[in-house]
Structures are given as structure tokens and as C-alpha cells.
């Protein structure tokens, strides 16, 4: 049987990635700031940051191409977790998958692919029905449409699947390692490893492949890209597949990390990831990656050294500072004004 961990109580899913180890850390006394504490919070922060980065990429990809903020993106994260739950549940019926280490690895891979593809296609569909008809409308219209889509998706899961917090299975062997007083468990290793691999793949895709270059070209000058023969709608569809697919995987990671999922789980991580995208420079892919990890680490350190209650304060204070002193974001390009 899979080991399931349910996170209960008031610090349920409305909190973004609650840092489980905080209370223990606080008990060790605030005066004892050790290297190990910093190291531990770095591990927690990078785990969190990997998830933020994966979600942030979806915001930044769409913004870069359409100059619109896809407020429904946080629901891709939530939806990915639910599709992941169903995929795990379905594959769990087959002994082939649960019987051996190889089977379990294959089960993870298949769950990632199923969830990524289903949510990717959902993203493409949402663009078709909710955003494309508004492409030439005033900029506020697609934003409102996106908010509507977000509410629709949350309520759809609430009504048709479940309004409750549901446990999320964890098929990884429960292992934890300790190096120099810093502990890291199998889930964290998987989340950090997978998110870094996915980020490298995406970075390579965008800089090396034909369609990836077309995406960059469209985000830099849509009209010129059209004149080169780039089909804008195809590029938009690709962006609306990749972003939600990555968000969906982050949703699965989150489910595994916290042990449970719920229809409204996307909201706060969505806001945080959007913040990460802005900190890094919205529209800039590497910026979203850097912003995601940075935000995760800052939050974890704030939680470790101040109090977990302060982590959101610190995260959004950083956002305000970046917006005041470098509005284009840390890696944002200064906008070339046309004469």
C-alpha cells in the first residue's frame, strides 16, 4: 500500500506550501542560528522554488507572447494535481506498476505524461474559447475572461469532483538522508531534480528548436515574425500547451510534498509564482526560473529565521522593492521605445 500522508488542520491547503519543518526549527530556539539551519532552509527553499519556477514559466510564456496575464494558470496547477491523483489511482490497479522499482518509476513517468498532456490540452482549449475571441478587444477583457475561467475551473472541481481536501498518494519509498545536519527526503530530491531537468529542457527547446525560436521571435516582434512566415496562432497554442503542462507537474509535486490536494490549492501558489515571474522580469523565461528559486529560498529563510507567519510579508516586500527599483525585473530587458 502506498504511504499516504494527510495534512490536516487549520494550515491546510489555503496556505501556500506550508513549511512543515518550521515548528521544529522554531523550537530549537531563535538564538541558535546555525549553518545547518540555513542549509536546511535552503533545501526547503529550493524545493519550493522549483515548484514556483515551473508555475512561473506558464505566466511568463503567455505574457511574453500575448502581453496578458493568464489568471486561470493557477488552476492548471490544481487541475494537474487532480489528474495526477486519478492517473496514480488508475495505474495503482496494475501490479506491474506497484510491484517493482522499475514499475514505480514507469508509473511516475506515465502519470507526469498523462497529467501534462491533459492539462496542456486544457490550456490550449481555454485559449481557444476564452482568450482568442478577445484578442483584439481592450486589454482588460481577456483578463476578466481569465478570472472567470479560473473561478469556473475551481467550482467545476468543487462540484463535480470533491469540495474536500483529499489525500495524495506517495509511491516513493520513504527515505530521508542527512548530510551535515541537513536532511533531505526522497520527495524533495525528486522535486528538485525534476524541476531542474524540466527547466533545462525548456531552455534548450526555446533557444534551439525551430518552434522555440519562433516563440521568442513572436514575443519580440509579432508583426515581423508574421512576415517571416510564422503562424502566430500555432505559436500561441504551443505556449498554452507547455505552460499548463509544466504547471500540472508542479501540482503533482505539491500533492506529493504536502500529502493532500484541494480545489482551491492553486490560488496562493499561483500568486506566488506570478510574483516570481515579475521579480525575474515578466516575459523572460530565465527570469521566471531565477525568480522562482529566489522567492522559494527567501520565503524559506524568512520562515526559518523570523517566523513562518512572516514569509509572505517578506516575499511580497521583495516584490514591491523590485517593482520600485527595477520595474523590468531582475533579468528583464529594458524596453526599447520605438520612435
Amino acid at each position: 500500500m502506498p504511504l499516504t500522508r494527510v495534512l490536516v488542520g487549520a494550515r491546510g491547503s489555503t496556505k501556500a506550501f506550508p513549511l512543515i519543518s518550521l515548528e521544529q526549527l522554531e523550537e530549537t530556539g531563535e538564538t541558535q542560528v546555525s549553518i545547518a539551519t540555513i542549509g536546511q532552509q535552503l533545501v526547503n527553499g529550493v524545493t519550493l522554488g522549483g515548484m514556483y519556477a515551473l508555475i512561473a514559466l506558464g505566466y511568463t510564456l503567455v505574457y511574453g507572447i500575448l502581453l496578458m496575464i493568464n489568471f486561470a494558470h493557477s488552476e492548471m496547477f490544481m487541475g494537474g494535481a487532480f489528474v495526477g491523483l486519478f492517473a496514480f489511482g488508475w495505474l495503482d490497479n496494475y501490479e506491474f506498476f506497484t510491484g517493482s522499482g522499475f514499475g514505480i518509476a514507469l508509473m511516475f513517468l506515465m502519470t507526469f505524461v498523462i497529467s501534462g498532456v491533459v492539462i496542456g490540452l486544457l490550456g490550449v482549449l481555454i485559449e481557444r474559447v476564452a482568450y482568442r475571441p478577445l484578442r483584439h478587444a481592450p486589454r482588460l477583457a481577456p483578463l476578466i475572461s481569465a478570472i472567470g475561467m479560473s473561478i469556473f475551473l475551481q467550482q467545476a472541481v468543487l462540484l463535480w469532483i470533491t469540495p474536500r481536501q483529499v489525500p495524495f498518494p506517495n509511491y516513493l519509498p520513504a527515505g530521508s538522508y542527512e548530510i551535515a545536519g541537513i536532511s533531505i527526503n526522497n520527495i524533495q530530491i525528486m522535486i528538485i531534480g525534476s524541476s531542474i531537468i524540466l527547466l533545462i529542457i525548456l531552455d534548450t527547446f526555446v533557444s534551439k528548436t525551430r518552434i522555440g525560436k519562433a516563440m521568442r521571435a513572436v514575443s519580440q516582434d509579432r508583426e515581423a515574425a508574421t512576415l517571416m512566415g510564422v503562424d502566430i496562432n500555432r505559436v500561441i497554442a504551443v505556449a498554452f500547451f507547455i505552460g499548463p503542462a509544466l504547471g500540472a507537474l508542479a501540482g503533482i509535486f505539491s500533492g506529493m510534498y504536502y500529502g493532500s490536494i484541494k480545489f482551491d490549492m492553486g490560488f496562493i501558489p499561483g500568486v506566488k509564482a506570478f510574483t516570481a515571474a515579475v521579480i525575474g522580469g515578466i516575459g523572460n523565461l530565465r527570469g521566471a526560473m531565477v525568480g522562482g528559486f529566489l522567492l522559494g529560498i527567501i520565503e524559506a529563510l524568512a520562515a526559518g529565521f523570523l517566523s513562518s507567519g512572516y514569509k509572505d510579508v517578506v516575499a511580497f516586500a521583495i516584490l514591491i522593492l523590485v517593482l520600485v527599483f527595477k520595474p523590468s525585473g531582475l533579468l528583464g530587458e529594458s524596453v526599447v521605445e520605438k520612435v
Binding site: K213, Q220, A224, L227
Partner: protein, 235 residues
Amino acid sequence: MLKVDNIHTFYGQIEALKGISIEVNEGEIVTLIGANGAGKSTTLKTISGQLTPAEGTIEFEGESLIGTAAHLVTAKGIVQVPEGRRIFPRMSVLENLEMGAYLRKDKAGVLEDLDRAFELFPRLADRRAQKGGTLSGGEQQMLAMARAMMARPRLLMLDEPSMGLAPVIVDVIFDTIKKLNKEGMTILLVEQNAAMALQTANRGYVLEIGKVALEGPGKELLHNEQVRKTYLGEL
């Protein structure tokens, strides 16, 4: 090769083109000149599919282009170098050129054409790894032309290639236009610099507020009294 017949194009309520008819034959340089707002750029944008005419026909090699999306017009062999050059600022010179060849599948041919582009504009070869946005205006214009050539167009449309450039660079650009034409490229050229354009072109059209006011061989228009007064600044 290209036959535009009586097109009317609107920007919202404003009728920018009020029945323009022009023709470009294979191997020619044809120029459209006229004041600001005469409809030169609008004509190019209508041909390239960025704007759809409310009325009229556009035929390219016997096929109608009306209703063809802009990226498909490019696929048919009409490539436009847009006004203001529109280089991809955060892509390298090389990547910009590769984008020009976006629709091509013949890798060997693309590599050959890259060499040719660098031969045509040696300054670009020195800067192939530099970001497009860091180039000077003249270099950007060269890159924009080289990028369009990477598509192996059948018809090259240039919108204000001399705009904002130093006279020395304008000469380079026009020399290149002549050279490309000598190698067989058909060119439709929109220019504010009427003197340069008419000297270079086989034929020209003078546009005035959305209509063709005059047409004829370039040299003839160059000596037309009305053109000299209105567009060449003679009193």
C-alpha cells in the same frame, strides 16, 4: 507577376486606399512614392496580408491573395521588409537570419544563403553573435534585408529602407537593391526619398491620398514637372 487592381483598404472608419491599382512584372524594380499618409505603406501591408482590402483584387502569379493570412503570403514568396526594420532585438544576427529562413526545409540551401548574406553585407558577418537590438540603424537595415532574402523571396517588398539613415548608408542600401535586382530579384520599393527611388526604379507610381496620381518609367517621373515640384523639393 503581381497585379493589384482597384483595392480599397480601411483603418477603422478611415479609407486609407481609395482604389489603388499597380502592377509589378518579373525582374522589375517598381517604386511607390508619395507624401506621408498617401497610402504607400498601407498598400504594402494590404499585399502582404496584414490588412484585408474591403474591395478589389490582388493576384500573385495568377493566384488571388485576398483573404490569405500574412504568414501564408510569405509562404507564397512575397516577403516584406517592414518599415522601421523590425529586427528581433534580443536575438543574435545569426538567429535573425535563421528566422528569415523559417519556412525553408532545405538545410544545405539555407547555409549557402547564410554565406551569401554575409558576403552581401560583410559588416553583419563581423557581428553575427551580437544581439540585433545593439546594431546601428544602418546595420539593422542591412540585417532586415538579408533576413528577408533568407526566405528566397520571389518578390521583395521594401518599406522605407532609407528612413533615418546617414547618406553614406543610404547609398549602400540602394546599391544593394540594384545588385539584388541584377541577380534577378523583383522588387517593390516604397520610399520617401523620391529622387533615389526614381533613379533606381524601372517604373514608379506616385500616390496621393489613397489614389494613384501618376505612373510611368522612373526616369520619366524624375523629369515630370509636377513630381519635381512636389516631391523633389524644387521650386
